[in-house]
Amino acid sequence: MNIVLRELRAHMKSLIIWSIAQIFIILAGMMKYVGFSSSGVDLKTMLEGYPEGMMKAFGMNRVDLTTVEGFYTVFFLYFMLLAAIHAVMLGAVIISKEERDHSADFIYSRPVKRSKVVFSKMTVGVINIIVFNIVTLVTSVVMIAQNNDGNGLLPEVSLLMLALFFIQLFFLTLGVLLGAVMKTTKAATSTATGIVLGTFFLSIASDLSDKVEFLKYITPFKAYQASDVVLDHTMNVVSTIILVGLSIVFAYVANQRFYKRDLSV
């Protein structure tokens, strides 16, 4: 418990900063919508001129951009990207920072098992991503409500946030695994962000060409289609099972590998 409280306090500041960043992105996105919808441009005609691949890449093939929910699902991609980077960085840092800050000799010479320290840190990670998730939810609902006659689409957005949570959990545990295995915090965080951006571009590539459509199976950003969740109220069960399963495997392996690790001074 003492480790959990200590880590919560240590990560408070960064959580606040990340949350503010997310609020700004949602704010900016929805402001674009306001501009869009009030400009009076015939969007449909305009968009018909764009190539289909590009429309797909931005998830605009299915949804109606002139409606607020349509617009939101397109922008959700970027909210998801930020959430993923936050989660993976948090995971990588929280486990490896003791060695970076030379406090490993302190914490791991206390009478606790290493696995307990790792578990406490993961708990703090999960609490952090839940807070980030709730911030995203509240901001989204408030912003949607403002442009949708007071209807914030709470049930739809909540379901979307549940999907987002599984993606966050996946990236958090991936970060923890990298932090546990890699030599330094720097190596862990740069690999982690590399993987996030890599899989993000894979998800875009899978939309651009049918030849590489299979790529969508190896990127968590394609685990859920925001438009499906919001419009059809369905969440891909197979994706959920895979994401949760992988999260458990990552957490387990991270703990095993960290237990055997020679801590550096």
């Binding site: 003492n2 240590a10 800050d101 000799d105 302190f106 009478p111 001074v265």
Partner: protein, 294 residues
């Protein structure tokens, strides 16, 4: 009862040697010195005892229990001061100490005040604002706070001024009187000399010798300085038992271990200006061990 027992402990970092076949044991209530130059393997040994790193082969027990298998249990009764102290930078001293205390049962919190006062440590400062010496003090207080049965100190005095060193030694001796066993690693011999009863000397990852510190100094070696106008005296002292022989402006000096009468016989043949026979400092003995092994 043996508090620490190390058995053929070997640690390689990849291909790099950490320690090789280290064996020694520390008895209950002892202040045991662990001495060697930087990079000899002192920290490697200590960090293996705390299972911060894992041995390549060999084993160690503390309080009779395997130090890896029962690591968390053993560490309840260990106070450890790492050689490199860098706690959580943006925490206050008092918060670090409270955090440290929160890991142990039944900690007498008044000891925070008492120990900090003894070490002249400001509890309300942030760690990042502390000098190296003051960080070291935080390390010392944190190590002694929970009244551990075994205190492991890795280069504890670096960064402390002589006055603080003395206060620190007093604290250590006080804990020792209450029954704590102490493993004290250092590369400075004079401080080991002051405190320890026995000492293990480590060099290039191997234990060169484990010896009682008094025997090591008193009963084995004499330092002899001879001032003489006679020519070629160093040649006359070319026999067994003499080491570290050097010529000075006025004569020669050397370390001697053996029958003192042999020396007197030679001295008798010389025209002496002055002669000094004294206890060598540990440094000299230490250098001697090193040269011998080289």
């Amino acid at each position: 009862m043996k508090i620490i027992e190390i058995n053929q402990l070997t640690k390689y970092y990849g291909k790099h040697r950490g320690i090789e076949g280290v064996s020694f044991s520390v008895e209950e209530g002892e202040i045991f010195g662990f001495i060697g130059p930087n990079g000899a393997g002192k920290s490697t040994t200590i960090r293996t005892l705390l299972s911060l790193i894992y041995p390549t082969s060999g084993s160690a027990t503390i309080f009779g229990k395997d130090c890896i298998q029962f690591g968390d249990e053993i560490r309840k009764d260990i106070g450890y001061l790492p050689s490199e102290v860098f706690y959580y930078e943006n925490m206050k001293v008092i918060d670090v100490l409270k955090y440290s205390a929160s890991f142990y049962e039944n900690v007498d919190m008044s000891r925070i005040e008492k120990l900090s006062k003894a070490m002249d440590l400001d509890l309300n400062k942030k760690i990042e604002d502390l000098s190296y010496g003051n960080k070291k003090k935080v390390g010392i207080v944190q190590g002694l706070l929970h009244e551990p049965k075994l205190i492991i100190l890795d280069e504890p005095t670096s960064g402390l001024d002589p006055l603080m060193q003395q206060k620190f030694f007093d604290l250590i001796l006080e804990e020792n009187k209450k029954g704590a066993t102490i493993l004290f690693s250092s590369h400075i011999l004079s401080e080991v000399q002051k405190l320890c009863t026995r000492v293990a000397i480590i060099k290039e990852g191997k234990i060169v010798k484990v010896e009682n510190i008094n025997e090591m100094r008193n009963n084995t070696y004499k330092r002899i300085i001879i001032e003489s106008a006679s020519e070629g005296i160093s040649a006359k002292f070319n026999f067994e038992g003499i080491t570290n022989l050097t010529s000075t402006e006025d004569g020669i000096q050397f370390l001697y271990k053996g029958n003192i009468n042999e020396i007197i016989k030679v001295l008798y043949t010389l025209e002496l200006k002055n002669i000094i026979i004294e206890e060598p400092t540990l440094e000299e003995i230490f250098m001697h061990y090193y040269l011998k092994e080289a």
